[in-house]
């Protein structure tokens, strides 16, 4: 069973994604800031895919992605960005460091399809 790590500071969005992916056979871990996300990846089981919000208190998604790509254990994990500020490219990590961007409000079937593609289901 593939594991998804969700890093998002909106509790309701974590809950919705957890419900969606659990109902579709995934293991899901949700954390609400970038530091906790990196800690989870370094101390817990490696996720098969990471879904990360860009704008969060403390460490944002951009820094999480840059840190992941500099870490040999995490640099190959596929990443989906979810963001409400797709127009603000300053918040984005360099191109090529992530696999997909979904702009809020996203469609649940769309994010499920994208995860299935990237995990190879």
């Amino acid at each position: 069973m593939a594991t998804i790590l969700i890093i998002e500071d909106e509790p309701s969005i974590i809950l919705i994604l957890q419900e969606l992916f659990k109902d579709n056979g995934y293991d899901v871990i949700g954390v609400n800031d970038g530091e906790s996300g990196l800690k989870q990846m370094k101390t817990g089981p490696l996720p098969d895919i990471v879904i990360v919000d860009l704008n969060m208190s403390g460490m944002g998604g951009k820094d999480v992605i840059i840190s992941m790509r500099q870490d040999s254990a995490l640099k190959c994990i596929p990443i989906i960005i979810i963001t409400g500020t797709a127009f603000n490219r300053m918040d984005f990590p360099p191109e090529g460091t992530y696999q997909a961007v979904l702009e809020k409000p996203f469609v649940l079937s769309g994010i499920l399809k994208k995860v299935n593609e990237l995990v190879g289901v």
């Binding site: 500071d9 909106e10 509790p11 309701s12 969005i13 809950l15 919705i16 994604l17 419900e19 969606l20 109902d23 609400n32 800031d33 704008n55 969060m56 208190s57 403390g58 460490m59 944002g60 951009k62 820094d63 409400g84 500020t85 127009f87 603000n88 300053m90 918040d91 809020k104 409000p105 996203f106 469609v107 649940l108 079937s109």
Partner: protein
């Protein structure tokens, strides 16, 4: 004149960006929950699962509604000045603060901040308790938004000669020194938060200032020497015995 127009245009642009970001989160939740309910109904999931989703949906609709009310209130206040709907009454400022803090301090809130309070009790002011509560809630929300999780947020109530001074101190990112006044302007957001922006429309402190002014008081902010910021409100004491 040109500088003023440029400033207005910058604020307008920042407001559109910030408000669209703020509104997108509850809209994402509402859209997601309605899809989930549909999926769960189709999959024959138990009613208890669906009821939980409906409860979250209600909360998200409330949040969206509050954001829209905040935007409307800011525009109305800019045009006509702050209008308070209820008349003032004698209130204990410490009780107002405790009522605001209670849900934030509850373990189930998940906020994980250490709220400390100190100073004097039983200080009475003539005020609209709901709106003074709004001011305090806004100050705490800002402190939590821009401070590391688990850090201290300290409230002090100090009796002055004919007023009470309440301060809220955090261990957050602080305020650029040249912007401690401007953060109370409508649609203004500190330049040091635009990197890892946790969200906000730049309206909360503006509305706080207008509420406090309407009570005959003042609000201001300072940076702590050892990091973080400190927000003060000063309100006249109730003269009745």
């Amino acid at each position: 004149m040109a500088e003023r127009l440029e400033c207005l245009e910058t604020n307008r642009r920042l407001f559109i960006q910030a408000s669209s970001h703020e509104l997108k989160n509850p809209i994402t939740s509402i859209k997601g929950i309605t899809s989930l309910i549909h999926m769960k109904l189709n999959a024959g999931k138990p009613v208890s699962d669906i009821i939980r989703m409906v409860e979250i949906l209600e909360k998200e609709v409330d949040r969206l509604s509050k954001l829209l009310i905040e935007i409307l209130e800011a525009f109305m206040t800019e045009r006509n000045g702050m209008v308070l709907k209820t008349s003032f009454r004698k209130i204990n400022i410490t009780e107002v603060i405790q009522n605001v803090l209670k849900p934030l301090m509850a373990a189930e809130s998940g906020y994980n901040f250490i709220f400390k309070t100190g100073g004097e009790d039983n200080i009475y002011i003539l005020a609209d308790p709901d709106r003074i509560g709004d001011v305090m809630r806004n100050l705490y929300n800002n402190a939590m938004k821009y401070s590391p999780r688990g850090s201290d947020i300290i409230t002090r109530v100090q009796l002055l000669k004919d007023s009470v001074q309440v301060s809220v101190e955090d261990r957050g990112i602080g305020i650029p020194e040249d912007q401690t006044d401007r953060i109370f302007d409508s649609f203004y957001r500190g330049s040091n938060i635009r990197g890892n922006d946790p969200g906000g429309m730049g309206l909360g402190l503006y509305i706080c200032r207008e509420i406090v002014k309407k009570h005959g008081g003042s609000i201001w902010a300072e940076n702590n020497a050892d990091g973080g910021s400190k927000f003060y409100i000063k309100l006249p004491l109730c003269k009745e015995v």
